[in-house]
C-alpha cells in the first residue's frame, strides 16, 4: 500500500511540474500584460510602462522568469500580486473561505438530493418519478449556470424580493442567518448541476448493483427489502461515487466561477477571472497550482480509498 501511495505521489509531483510549465508559458505568451490596464489611461506613457515593467522584472526572458518563479515557489514564496502587492498565498486564502462555503453547501445539497433522486429513480425504474427525474437532470445539465443565476436573481430578488441579489453578507451584519440568507441562491444555482450529475451517477450505480446475483440471492433468502437496500445494495452502489466525488473539484470550481460572478460572491473563481483579466501572473499561477494540487489530492484520496475498500485495485 505504501509503495502504491508513493508511486501515485511521484506521478502527482510530475504532473504539477508539467501543469506549471504549460500554465506559465500559455499565460505569458498570451498577448497583453499586467500593465495593459494602465496603457489606455492618460496617466502613463510607454516610457512609464517600460520603466514599471523593468521594475517588476517583466522584461527578462521567459525561461528566466519561469525558473525564478518556480524556485521561489518551491521555497514557499508564491510571489506577490501585481495588482495590490499582497502575497499570493494570502490573496488565495482570503478568497478560499467564500468559495469553500459555496462549494461545500452546494455539494451537501447535491449529495443528499442527488443520491435520493438517483436511488429512488433506480428503484422505480421507468416510473413517472424516474422519467421526470431523468428529464429534470437533462434540463439542469443543459441550462447555462450564468443564465440560471440571472433568472434566479430576477425571480427571487427583483420580483419576489425574498433573497438578496448578491453578495456574501450584508455589510455591517454578518450574522449566521444573514450569511445563510445570502448563501441560498448561489448554492442553489451551483448545486443544481451537481445534483443532476450525482443523481445520474447514483441511478446508474444503483441499477448495476440491484441487478447483481447477490441481491437476487438475498431476496431469495427472504431478507427484508430495506435491509437488502441499505446493507447490501447502497454500500456497494456508493463505491463508484468515491471516484465521482474525487473528480468533482474541477467541475465545482468551474461552476463556482460563474456563480460567484453572477452573485458577486468574493471567492476564488471570481479572483481567477479578475486576475486573468488583469494578467496578474503571480495570482493566476498561484490559483492554477492550488487548483491542480487540490484536484490531485482529491484524485489521490479517491484512489487510496478505492484501494482500501477494493484490494484488487492495488494488485492491478
Amino acid at each position: 500500500m505504501a509503495r502504491y501511495v508513493l508511486n501515485r505521489l511521484a506521478q502527482a509531483a510530475m504532473l504539477l511540474v508539467i501543469v506549471s510549465a504549460i500554465g506559465f508559458a500559455l499565460l505569458h505568451l498570451a498577448p497583453g500584460g499586467p500593465l495593459s490596464q494602465f496603457a489606455a489611461s492618460a496617466q502613463m506613457t510607454q516610457e512609464d510602462l517600460d520603466r514599471v515593467s523593468k521594475q517588476l522584472g517583466l522584461d527578462r526572458p521567459l525561461p528566466i522568469q519561469y525558473l525564478d518563479w518556480f524556485v521561489r515557489m518551491l521555497r514557499g514564496d508564491w510571489g506577490k500580486s501585481y495588482r495590490d502587492g499582497e502575497a499570493v498565498l494570502s490573496v488565495i486564502s482570503s478568497h478560499l473561505g467564500a468559495t469553500l462555503e459555496l462549494m461545500v453547501t452546494a455539494t451537501i445539497i447535491a449529495v443528499l438530493l442527488g443520491c435520493w433522486i438517483g436511488i429512488s429513480g433506480a428503484l422505480r425504474r421507468y416510473s413517472l418519478f424516474d422519467s421526470l427525474a431523468t428529464v429534470g437532470a437533462m434540463i439542469a445539465l443543459s441550462i447555462p449556470t450564468f443564465w440560471f443565476g440571472l433568472v434566479t436573481i430576477y425571480v427571487f430578488s427583483v420580483t419576489l424580493g425574498w433573497l438578496p441579489a448578491g453578495n456574501r453578507e450584508t455589510v455591517g451584519d454578518g450574522s449566521f442567518l444573514d450569511l445563510l440568507h445570502h448563501l441560498i441562491a448561489p448554492a442553489m444555482v451551483l448545486g443544481l448541476v451537481e445534483t443532476a450529475m450525482w443523481g445520474r451517477f447514483m441511478r446508474s450505480s444503483m441499477l448495476e448493483v440491484i441487478n447483481q446475483d447477490y441481491i437476487r440471492t438475498a431476496r431469495a433468502k427472504g431478507m427484508p427489502e430495506w435491509r437488502i437496500l441499505t446493507v447490501h445494495a447502497l454500500r456497494n452502489a456508493l463505491l463508484p461515487m468515491i471516484t465521482v466525488a474525487g473528480l468533482q473539484f474541477p467541475t465545482l470550481l468551474g461552476g463556482a466561477l460563474v456563480a460567484e460572478t453572477v452573485f458577486t460572491w468574493p471567492g476564488m473563481g471570481r479572483l481567477f477571472l479578475d486576475s486573468i483579466g488583469y494578467r496578474d501572473y503571480p495570482v493566476v499561477m498561484g490559483i492554477l497550482m492550488f487548483s491542480a494540487i487540490m484536484v490531485l489530492i482529491g484524485s489521490l484520496i479517491a484512489d487510496i480509498l478505492y484501494a482500501v475498500v477494493d484490494p484488487r485495485i492495488r494488485v492491478g
Binding site: A39, Q43, T45, D48, G85, T261, V262, T264, G277
Partner: protein, 563 residues
C-alpha cells in the same frame, strides 16, 4: 476642507476679463485646469441643505472594477482614485465649477499673493498647520517634500513624473511653508498638483522598499476618511475621520462594494442593496428604466473622455486626408448616438470637453453626407474595384477596426460603421480583442488599422496634449508619450510648445483653439461624441456633485449625507 476658493476662482471667462501675463498663474495655470461649466450637465445636481452635526449612517458605493492600488502615487486606474480621494488630500483640488480650492495648502499660489514668481519658475506654498495624519502625527511641509522626492526617486514605481521632474531645489522653509524652483515654466503643473495626493513621510521613510510596505494595503492619509478594512474581491470600508481639517465627513462610513457585472450592479441598485452606482455607472440601456425607479435619482453628466475612431495615420489608406474626410462624412453619427447610446451623449468635434474653458466653439460641424463622401473619394482617385471596394495605386480601401471585445455598444457601433462605409466603397472588418490585449503593444505600438476608443486627452484638466499629438510622442517611433495615431504636424508642435509656455489665459485659449481647429481639419481623430456617465443615487442621499475635473464622481463623498 478649506472654505475659500483662493484668488483665482475661474467660474467662467466672463468673470475673468482678459488676464495679463501676471495674472496667468492666477488664471492661466489655475484656469488651465479649470472649466467653465455650461450648467446643463448638472441640471439635476442637488444642492446640499443641512448636513448633520455628527457623521451619521453609511453609504454603499458600488464599483464595477475593484480598487487595488492604495498608494496614491503608484500606477492606478480611475477606480483607485475613488479611494485616494477619501483617504488622502492634495494641496488643492478643482471643484465642479473649475475653481481651484485649497486643501492642504492654505491658499492657492498666485503671482498676486506671492506664491508664484512672474516667470512661473519659483513656487512658494503656504500650508495649513492644523492638519493631522490619521495616526495623529502632524502634517508638515516635510511631507510635501517627501512626496515630491518620492515621485522622482528612480527606484520607486511611480505612475509618471510629468511636471514633477521639473521640480528642483525643494526647500522646507517652515513646517507650514515649502518652496521649490521649476527647471522650466510649465503651466499645466498647477492642474497636475491638484491630482497629486500627499503621502506621509513619517511612515514611508522607514520602509526599505518604497514599492512594498504595509502602508500599501492599509494607507494612512489626511483625508476625510481613514482606512477601515478590505475584503479582497468584495469591498473596502473607510470610516469617518473625526480630525479631518475640512468640511465633513457627514457619514460614518463608506463601503466601496465591488460588483464586476454592470447588469448585476444595476440590479443591486434597483433592489436597494447599494446606495450609489460608481465608475461606469448605469448602462445606457437601463437609464430610461432607472429614471422611473422609486427612491432613487439618476444623474447623467459629461465626462472628459471623447469617444472617437482612432486611425493609424501611417496605415496605407488613412494617410490620405481625403479618405479620412470621406469616412467621417459617411458616419451616421446621430444614429450611433440615438440608437446605440439612447441619445445620452453629445456630438463633439474636439478633443477638449465642451465644458472646459479651452474648448473651441465653432469648429466645422460633422454632417452625415455619403454622397459628398463618394464624390470626395472619386475626386481623390479612389475608384471602385472588385466587390465595390475602392482602390488607388494598388492600395485597397479596406481596413480593420478594433475595440475591446465584450463592449456591446462599441461592437454595435462597428456594425453601423461597416454599413455606413460599405456605402462609399470602404471595407471594414472587425478585429476585437480583450482589454488586456488591445491596450498593450497593439495600441501602444500602433499596430492597429483603426480603433474605437474613449480617451481623456487632457493632462489632468489642462488642454496641453503634447503627449497625445506631439511629433515626439509616438511610441512606435521611440517617442515619449501616447501619440498612437502617429500624428505629425509641425504646426501642431509649434502650437503645443507655445501653449505650455504661455502665461496669459486668452493667449492660451487662442493657441489651444487653433490646435483644435488644426486637429479637426486634419482629422487626426474621427470624433464621435463626448463621453457621459449615468449614475444612480438613492433618494435621501445628498451632496452628490459630478465633477468633470476629476476622474471619479466619488471625489466629494466627504460632503455626502443622508437627509
Amino acid at each position: 476642507m478649506a472654505d475659500s476658493t483662493g484668488k483665482f476662482g475661474v467660474g467662467g471667462l466672463h468673470h475673468l476679463g482678459i488676464p495679463n501675463r501676471r495674472q496667468f498663474f492666477q488664471l492661466g495655470a489655475g484656469a488651465a485646469a479649470g472649466w467653465t461649466l455650461s450648467g446643463t450637465a448638472f441640471a439635476q445636481t442637488e444642492r446640499p441643505s443641512t448636513p448633520p452635526d455628527k457623521p451619521r449612517g453609511q453609504v454603499i458605493a458600488a464599483l464595477s472594477q475593484e480598487p487595488t492600488v492604495f498608494h496614491p502615487l503608484m500606477p492606478g486606474i480611475e477606480v483607485d482614485q475613488g479611494i485616494w480621494w477619501q483617504v488622502f488630500s492634495p494641496l488643492w483640488f478643482i471643484d465642479p465649477d473649475g475653481k481651484f480650492v485649497p486643501d492642504l495648502a492654505r491658499e492657492v499660489p498666485t503671482v498676486e499673493n506671492g506664491g508664484l514668481s512672474a516667470d512661473g519658475l519659483t513656487w512658494k506654498i503656504k500650508l495649513r498647520s492644523d492638519v493631522k495624519w490619521h495616526d495623529g502625527t502632524a502634517f508638515t511641509a516635510d511631507d510635501v517634500k517627501f512626496s515630491l522626492d518620492l515621485i522622482n526617486n528612480p527606484d520607486f514605481r511611480v505612475r509618471n513624473r510629468v511636471g514633477h521632474s521639473l521640480v528642483k531645489d525643494i526647500t522646507v522653509v517652515a513646517p507650514d511653508e515649502i518652496h521649490w524652483r521649476m527647471e522650466a515654466p510649465y503651466s499645466p503643473y498647477m492642474s497636475i498638483l491638484s491630482l497629486t495626493f500627499i503621502v506621509p513621510k513619517h511612515i514611508l521613510e522607514k520602509v526599505s522598499d518604497p514599492n512594498s510596505s504595509p502602508f500599501h494595503n492599509a494607507p494612512v492619509g489626511t483625508g476625510p476618511f481613514r482606512w477601515g478594512e478590505r475584503v479582497p474581491g468584495d469591498h473596502i470600508q473607510v470610516n469617518a475621520y473625526a480630525g479631518y481639517h475640512g468640511k465633513g465627513p457627514y457619514v460614518e462610513r463608506v463601503v466601496f462594494k465591488y460588483i464586476p457585472s454592470l447588469t448585476v450592479l444595476y440590479t443591486q441598485f434597483r433592489t436597494g442593496q447599494v446606495d450609489y452606482t460608481g465608475l461606469q455607472g448605469i448602462l445606457p440601456n437601463f437609464v430610461q428604466e432607472a429614471k422611473t425607479l422609486k427612491a432613487s435619482k439618476i444623474f447623467v453628466s459629461s465626462t472628459s473622455s471623447v469617444e472617437h475612431i482612432a486611425p493609424n495615420l501611417e496605415f496605407g489608406p488613412f494617410a490620405d486626408h481625403a479618405v479620412r474626410e470621406a469616412l467621417y462624412l459617411a458616419i451616421n453619427k446621430q444614429a450611433i448616438i440615438d440608437a446605440l447610446n439612447y441619445g445620452l451623449p453629445t456630438q463633439t468635434e474636439s478633443f477638449v470637453p465642451q465644458e472646459a474653458w479651452s474648448f473651441q466653439q465653432g469648429l466645422p460641424q460633422h454632417k452625415y453626407d455619403p454622397a459628398k463622401a463618394n464624390a470626395l473619394l472619386d475626386a481623390a482617385g479612389w475608384a471602385r474595384g472588385s466587390g465595390g471596394v475602392r482602390e488607388k495605386g494598388g492600395v485597397k480601401l479596406e481596413f480593420t477596426n478594433s475595440t475591446t471585445s465584450g463592449n456591446a455598444v462599441r461592437e454595435q457601433t462597428q456594425q453601423l460603421l461597416i454599413q455606413d462605409w460599405h456605402a462609399i466603397g470602404a471595407s471594414m472588418r472587425v478585429n476585437n480583442m480583450p482589454a488586456a490585449v488591445i491596450w498593450g503593444d497593439f495600441w501602444q505600438q500602433s499596430k492597429f488599422n483603426s480603433v474605437i476608443v474613449g480617451v481623456n486627452f487632457m493632462l489632468g484638466s489642462d488642454p496641453d496634449v503634447t503627449p497625445r499629438f506631439g511629433s515626439g510622442a509616438i511610441p512606435a517611433k521611440g517617442g515619449r508619450g501616447y501619440n498612437t495615431y502617429q500624428y505629425q504636424s509641425a504646426e501642431a508642435d509649434r502650437l503645443l510648445a507655445d501653449g505650455a509656455r504661455q502665461f496669459d489665459l486668452e493667449q492660451r485659449k487662442k493657441t489651444y483653439g487653433d490646435l483644435q481647429k488644426l486637429i479637426r481639419n486634419d482629422l487626426a481623430i474621427l470624433p464621435l461624441f463626448q463621453g457621459f456617465i449615468a449614475e444612480g443615487v438613492k433618494e435621501g442621499l445628498q451632496g452628490f456633485r459630478p465633477n468633470i475635473n476629476t476622474s471619479t464622481n466619488c471625489w466629494n463623498i466627504r460632503e455626502w449625507y443622508w437627509a
